[in-house]
Amino acid sequence: MSGFGAFIASPWGSALAIAGMMLVTFLCRIAGVVLMNHVRITPRIERGLRALPGSIILATILPVALDAGWPALVALGAAVTVMAATRIDVLSLAAGLGTLSVIRALL
């Protein structure tokens, strides 16, 4: 154990920390696929999974956008509007960023 402790305390400890982080992250990355290999996908489960992409997006952006205040909400609205009208993702991204920087420049 003391040999292991000394190894961890050496500069190799950082490599071990990164390896440990990689391991648990990779397990998270594959766990969903492995799990679903053993689950029969019922209509109920399928409905749940179909709701996931939109749910993740809302769960990620809503708190951040509300914290950032109304200019952020206007910028998100502009990006969504351009995307709905044109379906060109890069243009919509530019519209959102542009709106936000214009508002901030005027404030």
Partner: protein, 233 residues
């Protein structure tokens, strides 16, 4: 579902995926540059910084890791950083679950690589392609590979010249990820009713964010959305 085409893999898909990833570039450049800058300020070596980006490749957990990074490691601090990383990245379990039908017939090694490269942004681009009827697994891999490469380059740039980058707020770049996410929401829209779980997810996430520190609000909101999706006919 029997009418949907069988999944396959093609090199043309790799190229398509790499191109489709373009709107995620600004967010990746922004985040990885910020990580590289913070890592340099924190005193991490270049090898440690790039090692995190190459092997862990998960932005939020890399940022959190900087807060608990040690000069001298002990078994307990290693265990701590692994636990925190697992908690922050647990939402990836959900992403993988939705990919299973698409990856079911893939060779294990290629799926392992595809999943090693799994990120929310890449998954959203892949989900959009899949939702539009695409089944080429090469697209998912092409998106994953190019975004990983962008992440590495931006990490190194951030490490060396991060302090010289002008105020990103001026160009709205601090919110580039939320804006990208909101853009990706549009192709998912199938009417009011299928969007009800999203609303549940947003509300639960907001409340969690207000009450609990850390990144837990994303997984809390996402899980609430899945449960709502299961309950709403």
């Amino acid at each position: 579902m029997s009418s949907s085409p069988r999944p396959f893999f093609s090199l043309a898909g790799l190229r398509y995926g790499a191109r489709a990833a373009l709107p995620a570039f600004p967010g990746f450049i922004m985040f990885a540059t910020a990580f590289g800058t913070a890592a340099a300020q924190k005193g991490l070596s270049l090898a440690e910084t790039v090692g995190l980006s190459i092997f862990v490749y998960a932005g939020a957990s890399q940022m959190v890791a900087l807060e608990i990074w040690q000069q001298v490691w002990t078994p307990s601090t290693i265990l701590t950083i692994m636990t925190v990383t697992a908690v922050v990245n647990s939402r990836m379990i959900l992403l993988g679950a939705t990919l299973q039908p698409w990856l079911r017939h893939e060779p294990v090694a290629r799926s392992a690589l595809n999943l090693f490269l799994l990120t929310e942004a890449g998954w959203l681009i892949g989900t959009r392609y899949h939702g539009e009827g695409g089944r080429d697994v090469g697209v998912l891999l092409g998106t994953g590979l190019i975004l990983w490469a962008v992440w590495q380059i931006a990490t190194i740039i951030g490490y060396f010249v991060g302090a010289l980058v002008p105020q990103p707020r001026t160009f709205g770049l601090d919110l580039v990820m939320p804006i990208f996410f909101s853009v990706m929401l549009v192709p998912l829209w199938k009417g009011m009713r299928p969007a009800l779980p999203w609303l549940v997810a947003g509300v639960v996430s907001f409340v969690t964010h207000a009450l609990v520190p850390g990144y837990g609000y994303i997984v809390a909101g996402a899980l609430a959305g899945v449960v709502a999706g299961m309950l709403i006919k």
